[in-house]
Symmetry: C2
Subunit: 355 residues, 2 copies
């Protein structure tokens, strides 16, 4: 089978970690006779913006549409305001391709210690489902009385029934396939009384269709504390766009840092391409030094394989990452080592070939 | 001097922990000849709501207004929707009395271990300033197409220049009085592009008046991870209403839990009474059992003393809490012990008298 992959390396460490992902993809092709990957590269990033006045061409989504999947590095550079680079590149792709599921496993890999004193590998293995198309990430709003002392800005947070139902159904179907059969839903309906009470209502309706799944609603503040105090009781966690964003960086921290946190932006109906990227950003402070940890990005390739219904390849990638970490010799600086991005990628590729 | 205190015990464990705070206040009066506290009690809670159809009387704020300070327990009971109890009691007080600063120290007390493996007492000592009157906690918004498949809800997040400037100025003046002289500001201007870019602009204007304070803007997702990975570099942290809420529950978790987290809702101009409460809620699951940890509430009394310009009394309370924790004999279940709320309060009072 043939799969066409759109590659957007982006800014900062994006291209560096993408390089290692491409090596991994090449190795998968070598090891598995039956599949072929082809690549199309897109140089859309802040550099592109400075030259063209936009982050991607007008027909950018058109150009991406016929690929099976998108491999995305990272976006953001000090030369372009963050809200421009984000709202003109990553968010239009997520929203335009109805990648309404942002899937983010929080799992302590073998070979890694958690910064949480009393938590071990068995305690840290859950998955966050983040709503990825609406909620707090809405461009609706504006400013009044600019330049005066009474200047103000308003931003609309928008929750729809359809948007909530589909992400809930996805989260439940995921919970059904797991052992604990447990769904924890983030809310803040005590304070955010219009959108979040509506969200709770939809949760309480949809949960009736899944009586065999234990559902719990937690206010986001309490849930953040929970991630530190009792992560072992979590299984599937569902959050709005913003809450999911916050919880997954926090989740990354409790399993060893942003260098180890992958994500898939998924359109479950496969009507549009899904996109795979590390949770971390472009990290301008370490860009160009060749020391970024490529594991988050390589793990995202593993999620991509799962999405393409090649779970044995997804497993091979993740197992190889873990084997290298258990050996403990090749580690990037964020993990206390001194090896380079390339050495880390090479070690994972070598392990894949050994397995 | 005489101070009049409005006491609102509220729901659940609120009255239980308030009881212990009142013992502490009585002890302060005994030990310090020059001061006198008088109390007025208000039975505003969910019970009151069920009888009267509202959480407090129409002239509730009027009744509170002439007190020097308010001692608040907790609000919330399963018999009343949370958004009602919150929007009719705690939020009108915070907003109506322009308690625009919600001050929340995050400090690992002596005698307590952090759940963070590598962090010790020196690493965990910072303070969160939370904007307490606007932002995401705005009642503006509503619902459309109710009952249809395309039902939706909108909530307005509102940031004003005046609201932002005053909280920034407070945060900076606090940073000036601390050793590290460092301010970390939470934002999310890459995604929340109307309100948060405006917030960043105001930050970048106000910081010019404080060149001797090191200012850093962090996206809320990254900052949440920071709380786990590098809390030792934090000094004063400023967040919007919601971001401050999330960060302080998380902050409580890294210093031993919600049973140890105090707060002050402060009107710095002292035009209106300020309010002191534990960060934790009414905890219906343990209410009535007499096992709630009263330390968060008693520490809030210490913050109240600071606010009343009685810092030596504030210090006495906090030191006594720490002395009891170091002794390690009297501990409530959340701290791994088996003593009662009352025993914990008594031990702190006894320690105050010894000191
Ligand atoms: C009860 C609730 C509305 C409140 C808040 O979100 O402000 C609480 O969580 C707090 O932190 O004081
Ligand atoms: C770059 C930014 C807009 C993005 C987000 O907030 O979604 C990032 O933090 C993420 O988690 O993918």
């Amino acid at each position: 089978r043939h799969y066409s992959i759109a590659v957007i390396p982006g800014d900062g460490i994006g291209p560096e970690v993408i390089n290692e992902s491409l090596k991994v993809l090449k190795t998968l092709e070598e090891l598995h006779g039956g599949i072929r990957f082809s690549y199309e590269y897109f140089d859309w990033n802040c550099q592109y913006y400075l030259q063209n006045g936009r982050m991607m061409p007008k027909d950018g989504l058109e150009q991406l549409k016929n690929h099976d999947v998108i491999l995305f590095g990272a976006v953001g550079d000090p030369s372009v305001p963050d809200h421009i680079s984000v709202w003109e590149l990553i968010l239009p792709i997520r929203k335009g391709f109805q990648q309404y599921v942002n899937l983010r496993p929080i799992r302590l890999l073998r070979g890694i210690d958690s910064p949480l004193r009393y938590k071990d590998h068995d305690d840290l293995d859950f998955i966050v489902v983040r709503e990825n198309t609406e909620g707090e990430y809405s461009d609706m709003g504006g400013r009044l009385h600019a330049g005066t002392p009474f200047e103000m800005a308003i931003q609309n947070n928008v929750i729809t029934r359809q948007g909530s139902e589909r992400i809930l159904q996805y989260a439940y179907s995921l919970a059904e396939r797991r052992k604990k059969k447990h769904l924890t839903v983030a809310t803040k309906s005590n304070a955010i009384n219009h959108t979040m009470t509506f969200w709770d209502e939809v949760v309480n309706e949809v949960r009736k269709d899944y009586p065999h799944i234990q559902t719990q609603l937690y206010h986001i503040d309490a849930l953040a504390a929970y991630f530190v105090m009792k992560p072992e009781s979590l299984d599937v966690v569902l959050g709005s766009n913003l809450f999911g964003d916050i919880l997954t960086d926090l989740g990354a921290a409790i399993v060893g840092g942003l260098g180890l946190a992958p994500s898939g932006n998924i359109n479950p109906e496969k009507q549009f391409p899904s996109m795979f990227e590390a949770i971390h950003g472009s990290a301008p402070d370490i860009a160009g030094k060749g020391i970024a940890n490529p594991i988050a990005q390589i793990w995202s390739v593993s999620l991509m394989m799962d999405h393409l219904d090649l779970p044995e390849l997804g497993k091979l990638v993740l197992d190889s990452i873990e084997d290298v970490l258990v050996e403990g010799i090749v580690r990037t600086p964020d993990l206390g080592g001194s090896c380079t991005t390339k050495e880390m990628g090479d070690a994972i590729v070598a392990q894949m070939k050994k397995s």
